[in-house]
């Protein structure tokens, strides 16, 4: 490269405030091989890009460096601009003088010096860069959706309706997720099951959807357009094909007193069960840990009463491999509990609330079940300890959430609204009861949300107390709640019959393990990370994997459904083409020098390296060398670092580029 153009961006004042951009541009112009340099207010703007394109043409540039923000932000933008100007996009690089320089240093002199150095390094990278041609790979037009809550259901239906095949995998025996557990939903107070169950049935009946419940993701291989996903089908002990869903087994099962997870442990179910009457599929599953047959080998009642002979105690876990082109992750959330946490856990419990040992302190989801017509109390608000109707109910918001001392500093987003809803449901059901809410802030952005909250306060007579609760303890059959009202400036003590905690929304158990299988990143709470907080909110950094719902962060139903449809749209965009162009950052073998020690093959996590035989014209084997399948190569470059003779090289990160940068230090 001998005619490089360097474009230094002010980023408004973001860069120029601490970096003397003119000096940086001037210094860049003095680097041998730099044919043009300038600075400009906003390089990413339309005029900025035009400036770049013009300069490429006018100065016959054969390489471009834009010194601006992080390449994670605008590399694509400028590569596109360079391409439009007739340059190979991979000859355009970015020098990060914003995130890595102007924003983190205050001394103008030092920051400018650093920016010059960064530019100098990156000019070397451009100089040694090579034109690369994109690689095309075929796309399997079949999607995998992980999680069968409202997010997964919505995404699956949208993709299936667009005419593509979808595999929906759910860990529990039925789809439906948390939304199926809710009684009524804010801000309209419509019945959750009434709007949810039709969608569940749609999933079951959709010709394009293959539904695997009671199944988990075992292994994920491949890459965008070409994933191979191993699904583990846990032994249901009931043959789904034979079962008619008549339910006789459940009524005859002698073991009936098992706390029902769906009712948060407050209702009972038999050992062979469907989680709730509207479950999809309506095929029961045997809870082997609680089944007498599995524990002692004696019983077998369900098998005897099953007409079609669907009960199969010998069933084993099975595995299938699904070829898919895109993956939507919609694993949802779980609720924080105030229980004492195991030692070493970054999350803490609430000892001041009794670590979950006081029976009439319940969480919001339990309250949903109490309020639900299909719940354990048939929709009557009765407290767990003695089944009495509570006359004084205290709701506490931000339990776990916004409490960095407990290990969670984020806002769970949905609690303000559902607590307001709870006070209304309570007031509707217990007319002479009084609801109190301890809260810090009422966060109600959303269509009709603030009006909903104000209704709870003004019409449904909930007493909102701005302040938190310091301690709760049992006194007789009451719970003494010691709080404060910071507006009045006094302590408040309430003798409550029932306390409902709006506990934090956390990612599902095992979210981190799934992320590791998928190769996607997650934050310190195990929420999955989107590729860009604003511009790529549903994509993962790993191509071909998309996020929907609360697995990415706390979300209410409307947001979840929107995101699910957005993820589905992204999948459809991907499926709109038969071939996929992918980043050509892949390894290549120099067959002349490769001696076939296959160290590269041993370290390749993708299995992208094969053994290739080199033969002479007579067909005699000359030697064996390594060969990289460019479609499979992930582009990590571990092979190159391992190769003793450097006969394998990663395009875009060649030794020549890196060494040149080090030389320029």
């Amino acid at each position: 490269m001998s005619r490089i153009g360097v474009f230094v961006c002010h980023c408004g004042e973001n860069i120029s405030r601490t970096v003397d951009v003119e000096q940086v541009a001037k210094a860049a112009g003095e680097i041998p091989g730099v044919a043009y340099s300038c600075d400009y207010k906003y390089m990413c703007s339309d005029p900025g890009q035009t400036l770049l394109k013009k300069a490429v043409a006018e100065h016959k540039l054969d390489g471009v460096l834009v010194a601006a923000c992080s390449p994670r932000m605008h590399e694509k933008t400028f590569r596109k601009a360079a391409e439009a100007a007739g340059l190979n996009p991979y000859l355009c690089e970015m020098a990060n003088i914003r995130e890595h320089c102007s924003w983190v240093h205050e001394d103008r002199g030092m920051a400018t010096a650093k920016a010059k150095d960064i530019v100098k390094l990156m000019v070397e990278r451009v100089r040694k860069g090579k034109s690369l041609a994109p690689i095309t790979v075929p796309v399997t037009k079949r999607a995998l959706v992980i999680g069968g809550g409202i997010a997964g259901i919505q995404a699956a239906l949208d993709i299936a309706d667009a005419g593509h095949k979808v595999v929906l995998v759910e860990r529990d025996p039925s789809i439906g997720g948390h939304m199926a557990q809710l009684s009524e939903t804010f801000p309209t107070l419509d019945c959750s099951q009434c709007i949810m169950t039709p969608k569940m049935v749609d999933v079951a009946n959709h010709p394009n959807i293959t539904l695997f419940t009671y199944s988990e993701i075992e292994k994920v291989e491949g890459y965008i357009g070409n994933f191979q996903v191993t699904v583990k089908h846990k032994a249901r002990s009931v043959d789904e094909k034979k079962c008619t869903g008549c339910g006789v087994c459940m009524t005859k099962c002698p073991k009936k007193k098992i706390p029902n997870e769906f009712d948060q442990g407050h209702g009972m179910r038999p050992a062979i069960y469907v989680p709730f009457p509207q479950a999809v599929p309506n095929t029961p599953v045997i809870d082997r840990e609680n089944c007498t047959m599995f524990q002692s080998g004696k019983c077998g009642v369900c098998a005897k009463v099953c007409g079609p002979g669907a009960v199969d105690y010998e069933q084993k876990d099975t595995f299938t491999v699904e070829d898919v082109g895109a993956i939507v992750v919609a694993t949802g959330f779980k609720l924080y509990t105030i229980d004492r946490k195991p030692e070493g856990s970054p999350i803490q419990g609430y000892g001041e609330f009794g670590y979950g040992t006081i029976p009439d302190i319940i969480d919001g989801m339990t309250f949903e079940r109490l309020a639900s017509a299909s719940g354990p109390t048939g929709g009557k608000i009765l407290r767990p300890s003695d089944g009495k109707e509570p006359k004084q109910v205290v709701f506490i918001q931000c339990v776990g959430s916004r409490a960095r001392e407990k290990g969670i500093s984020y806002c769970s987003k949905v609690c303000c609204m559902y607590t307001a809803k709870h006070t209304m449901l309570y007031h509707h059901k217990v007319h002479d009861g009084q609801a109190y809410v301890f809260f810090m802030d009422a966060r109600t952005p959303g269509k009709g949300y603030d009006e909903f909250w104000r209704r709870a306060v003004e019409e449904e007579e909930a007493v909102y107390i701005r302040g938190m609760v310091s301690r709760m303890y049992q006194r007789g059959d009451k719970i003494v709640v010691m709080g404060s009202d910071i507006q009045v400036g006094t302590q408040v003590e309430i003798e409550a019959d029932l306390v409902v905690l709006a506990t934090a929304v956390q990612p599902q158990d095992g979210a981190d393990l799934l992320a590791q299988k998928l190769g996607i990143s997650y934050d310190k709470y195990n929420f999955y990370s989107e590729a860009h907080a604003k511009l790529k909110p549903v994509e993962c950094a790993t191509a071909g994997i998309y996020l929907a719902g609360a697995c990415q962060g706390p979300k209410d139903i409307p947001d979840t459904v929107s995101q699910a449809s957005a993820a589905a749209a992204k999948v459809m965009t991907l499926f709109a083409k038969d071939q996929l162009e992918r980043d050509p950052v892949v390894a290549k073998v120099n067959e002349k020098y490769c001696v076939g020690c296959f160290a590269c093959k041993k370290v390749c996590a993708y299995g992208a390296i094969e053994e290739k035989e080199i033969r002479d014209r007579q067909g005699n084997l000359v030697k064996k060398v390594a060969y990289v399948n460019p479609g499979v190569c992930g582009g990590c470059g571990t092979c190159q670092a391992t190769c003793p003779s450097k006969s394998i090289e990663l395009d875009g990160y060649t030794d020549e580029q890196i060494m040149a940068m080090i030389e320029a230090l």
Binding site: R72, E99, L121, Y522, A641, G652, M661, I662, E663
Partner: protein
Amino acid sequence: MHAETKQHDFEPKIVAFVCTWCTYAGADLAGTSRMQYPSNVRVLKFPCTGRIDPVFILRAFQKGADGVLVSGCHPGDCHYMAGNFHARRRFAAFRALLSFVGVDLNRLQFSWVSAAEGGKWVDVVTELTERVRTMGPMPEFKELEHEEQWSTFAGASADKVLNSPELKEAYDSIG
């Protein structure tokens, strides 16, 4: 975050070899969060710590780095599944070698910094910079760069050997 800029006698040269998915993004986060750290570090982006060859570290020291940082994804978080695991073994071995030939390992730092750990990036960079600052410039490799083979012959400096009358005569005669 208005740390006063202090004047130091010695500004060490710190080179960071980082993976683009975790540490680079973590450093970006430090930027978007407007955290402050010493400006001595120069970041070289790699797709993965698995790509980082020990030769690069060696070369960086030769080219005047006073401290080197290698940073990537936490175990299990590698974007390429296992690159950081391979890197971990490679650098464990390389450290042992450097230590054996007498390189002070306080100048070579390894870390896992995720995309979410802007604060950790700041801590790691600040700590290494300040540690190296107190250690002073790294003389070993730099000295080597300027030494010639003959310089170690007893009693004769490179200058003397090169400027001896005999040699001069010989050169002249080549004409």
